[in-house]
């Protein structure tokens, strides 16, 4: 008797979460905890991007906008209002969802040929607003002044351990929700669109509606990632919404494996580790990253998890 696939996902998520939460009980390592906190934000960002990009075949190059928007919306609400942290987080994600719905509504109806162009242009519009609206966002200096630490459910997020626990829980729940989307009928429909949109529309799929849903959901979860990023940096920076950040997310998706659900998260982990290792030796991180990407794109050409799945076919199904 095979376990129900949905409960299998929940079990895997629970085990992963227990392991991550247990590690600090045995060994405290600030560097490792930092890494996991940053990874939780980045993994949500990259995995959510894979929904339009990998599942649907819509090449969005402006995903950083929603990551940045989530971070700014959350940080600003925490600084300017007395809302509790969960309420501010939910509101920030709602704002991001609305924004990605509006951007998506304009973009998905246009020719798919230049989807990447236009999503990038929207991101740069957002970026230029962030830079020029100094009184609100702090301009290119970023939003400073920190995020007021309000206790939630006995958690004190200024403690690194509590932040670590909070981010792990949010990230695992977020990934589980995204997993649910990708295994739902809509997820399958998105794959149909990627494979053969003409046939899909012949079968009754309303292409723009399915694409808009995918784009909106992706934006929402990128916003959630942005909230975690804002917690980590205690504020928000324009770099979160800048194009290299979108490029990094695309590389994370490709590096980990576009056809595997956990691929983007793995890619994000590898990329973060690479970043930490390289910046210790040189300030020219872009140069090193560029060379790594070229080696990957021209040589390896397939994401790590996709590669493993081909080597051991059907082991994951």
């Amino acid at each position: 008797m095979k376990p129900h696939p949905a409960s299998r996902d929940v079990v895997i998520a629970a085990v992963a979460l227990i392991v991550v939460l247990a590690i600090p009980l045995f060994h405290r390592s600030p560097a490792f905890e930092d890494f996991i906190i940053r990874l939780s934000a980045m993994a949500l960002f990259a995995t959510s991007l894979n929904l339009p990009v990998g599942n649907t075949g819509m090449v969005s190059f402006g995903h950083g906008m929603f990551y940045g928007l989530g971070a700014y919306a959350f940080a600003l609400m925490m600084q300017m209002t007395d809302l509790s942290l969960p309420v501010a987080a939910v509101l920030a994600v709602s704002i991001t969802t609305l924004a990605s719905f509006c951007v998506g509504a304009i973009c998905v109806r246009l020719s798919t040929d230049y989807f990447a162009f236009i999503t990038l242009a929207f991101q740069m519009l957002f970026y230029s607003v962030v830079i020029s609206w100094q009184s609100l966002t702090g301009g290119d200096q970023g939003l400073r002044g920190g995020i007021p630490r309000r206790e939630i459910f006995g958690f004190e997020l200024s403690s690194q351990l509590h932040l670590y626990q909070f981010c792990s829980v949010v990230a695992v729940l977020g990934l589980l929700a995204l997993r649910h989307v990708s295994t739902s009928p809509l997820g399958q429909t998105l794959r149909m669109i990627r494979d053969n949109e003409d046939r899909a529309s012949f079968l009754g799929v309303v292409l723009w509606r399915a694409r808009l849903l995918a784009f909106t959901i992706a934006g929402a979860f990128a916003g959630l990632g942005g909230v975690l990023a804002a917690l980590f940096v205690s504020g928000a920076y324009p770099e979160l919404a800048d194009w290299p950040n979108s490029g990094q997310a695309i590389f994370a998706v490709m590096l980990g494996g576009i056809n595997s659900f956990l691929g983007p998260a793995l890619g994000a982990a590898i990329l973060l580790a690479l970043n930490d290792a390289v910046t210790r030796f040189t300030e020219y991180y872009g140069l090193v990253l560029g060379i790594v990407i070229l080696a990957f794109a021209v040589g390896f050409r397939r994401g790590v998890l996709d590669f493993l799945r081909l080597a051991w076919p059907r082991s994951s199904k």
Binding site: L110, M254, I258, L287, G290, I293, F296
Partner: protein, 299 residues
């Protein structure tokens, strides 16, 4: 927002001339870059995200060449040729390896090239801003047209870009190569079915695109400062130009580049805080009204 200032400018001939001239040079430089983007997209169906890097390197090459030779003409020429060559090498060594694969791979390769050369520029020329300064030949008193100030270099720049536009337009409509390029933009299978050497065609398209971007960088160097990352902002704007004008249309690129130039020049007066945003708003408005762009064929 300062609509009074904008109104005052629009009713003063001197201000109109000054702003229109600066709009023209912005638009013309943009056109040179966008023409390459639209050509490459038209023929190869590839969005070249590394195109801004060609422009940036063109500017830096011209800067060094001027230092070495003291001749601005030679500097412009060497930047153009160097970037044409760079375009071919980029196409042959990197892009041609990912033609068949996922669009994301092509995007990644471009992204990598942008990252690498931003850092290469930092290593070779340093991270700080450089000013090339006006070449000696143009250090003469400005022209005055209707009371507006027009530096002679601006006039020369506009004329050169206009000549290029004419040559490109004629080349595309009159020559065999140009006809092939236009045919490829409409139907890429047809071209390979006709037995045209696509390898050569693709390399030529990248050479022309790279050369134009290099030229734009060299022409921009005296009027703008050089910095690593300068390629990206013009890349975004040239994308906007391409989208507004209609993918693959050179005429559309010219018109929309000039439109963007003017929006920028007059927007600085009316909306000094929000000039960038203004351009995006123009783009979104045009896309909502005409999704295929001003001169694009409807699908």
């Amino acid at each position: 927002m300062d609509l009074d200032a904008l109104g005052a400018c629009l009713t003063t001939p001197a201000c109109v001339v000054t702003q229109a001239t600066s709009g023209l040079i912005v638009g013309m430089l943009l056109f040179l870059v966008a023409a390459g983007v639209t050509l490459i997209f038209g023929v190869l169906k590839i969005v070249n995200f590394a195109h801004g890097t060609f422009y940036m390197l063109g500017g830096y090459v011209a800067y060094s060449a001027l230092g070495a030779t003291d001749s601005y003409a030679l500097a412009v020429l060497s930047a153009t040729l160097a970037m044409a060559l760079f375009g071919v090498v980029f196409e042959r060594a990197l892009m041609s390896r990912v033609y068949g694969s996922n669009v994301l791979m092509q995007l990644l390769v471009c992204y990598a090239v942008v990252l690498i050369f931003d850092d290469v520029v930092k290593i070779v020329w340093g991270p700080e801003f450089h000013a090339m300064g006006m070449p000696p030949a143009f250090q003469v008193p400005p022209l005055f047209i209707a009371g507006g100030v027009v530096p002679p270099f601006y006039a020369v720049l506009i004329v050169i870009a206009a000549l290029i536009a004419i040559v490109l337009g004629l080349g595309l409509s009159m020559t065999r190569l140009g006809k092939t390029v236009r045919a490829a933009a409409i139907n890429s299978q047809m071209v390979s079915a006709l037995g045209i050497n696509t390898t050569l065609l693709f390399a030529i398209v990248f050479a022309v695109g790279g050369g134009l971007a290099g030229l734009a960088g060299a022409l921009a160097a005296p009027v703008r400062s050089l910095s690593p990352g300068m390629g990206f902002s013009i890349l975004i704007e040239s994308f906007i130009v391409t989208v507004i004008g209609g993918m693959g249309s050179i005429g559309g690129a010219l018109v929309s580049a000039l439109l963007i130039g003017m929006v920028r020049a007059f927007g600085t007066i009316g909306f000094p805080q929000f000039t960038d945003g203004l351009i995006y708003i123009v783009m979104i408005a045009i896309l909502l009204l005409r999704p295929q762009g001003l001169f694009g064929r409807s699908p």
